[in-house]
Symmetry: C2
Subunit: 210 residues, 2 copies
Amino acid sequence: MNREGILVVISGFAGTGKGTVVKGLLEKYDNFALSVSMTTRQPRPGEENGKSYFFVDKETFEKTIEEGGLIEHACYCDNYYGTPKAYVEEQLKAGKDVILEIEIQGALNIKKMFPTALLLFIMPPSAEELKRRLVGRGTETPEVIDKRMRRAAEESEGIDNYDYIVINDKVDQCVADTYSIIEAAHMRPKRNMNFINKIRHELNEISKGE
Amino acid sequence: MNREGILVVISGFAGTGKGTVVKGLLEKYDNFALSVSMTTRQPRPGEENGKSYFFVDKETFEKTIEEGGLIEHACYCDNYYGTPKAYVEEQLKAGKDVILEIEIQGALNIKKMFPTALLLFIMPPSAEELKRRLVGRGTETPEVIDKRMRRAAEESEGIDNYDYIVINDKVDQCVADTYSIIEAAHMRPKRNMNFINKIRHELNEISKGE
């Protein structure tokens, strides 16, 4: 059965480890394609252009918006983030589940444009643990960490808008849980109408013949 | 985290092997409780009273309806089938996922009374394969098999009302898929509001302290 790709939106507070979860999904399973976002923020150590993000300046970003080249874009912590359209559409058509790792404002914009998108929110086991992870990352100043914690408090109000939450306590379990959710979504009747209609037709043919 | 039990309704055409799938779930995982239905139909060879069904006469069945002792009941192939209420409520309260193996009319009645119930429809890979399994079972006359195939054609119109379909091609895969769907359902935000509200509260407390 040729199955249609699902647009999977993965969000989570900064520091939840959602990047690691996405990496785990891509390494362990072969039905995923990762959408690389475009951003105006500065690369962090180790981040590669075209792999982590497409790093562009503000002018290039705004030109891409004007040309209709982004599915969604949003401003977060004074930087633009957006999702290039062409790659996502190609991969979905090819049957791949396309993962977008974006923040909450972008996620809700996606859901408006693609009502069948699956919205997952990766949660830390506790707020204390979130702070420990942010501090442990060692890439942000204490001021930025405080800003991210306040942002997390704000973002937490929007979790109800997501289809699923996944707790990232142990990363392997979180990857497995995320995979289960996506596989389950493929088994929705509305994603299998060709198969259901085929069986209906066959059953009617057999019943008529008796 | 104490999680709340989910009422899992499993339906499927007669002969799809849903009984085997349910048996697989109960054997492989320990978070399930099986609801035993009450029926007025005759036991098939090997079926035990109180295990496969509570086999009762029509008078007893109708008395149980009057006393409000059933969650739902329906008439199928000239026999009554119903779900005793007390056991289901006890097990859900204890955190068990309760499996009801019932036909489509009963399933839709359940969904009206329990909107959070999860409705799964087990599908054969094809109508031909369904007929092969019914014939192979060797327990029904050709007339009864024809009746079941016509009934399957009718029932197939209602599949859209289910939350998920699961194809029973290889039984182990079908059991694993069914388990994934149920585990995913536990990760819906509305089933985790205590946890979400706890994190919200903690994040606000930490943010205030900074």
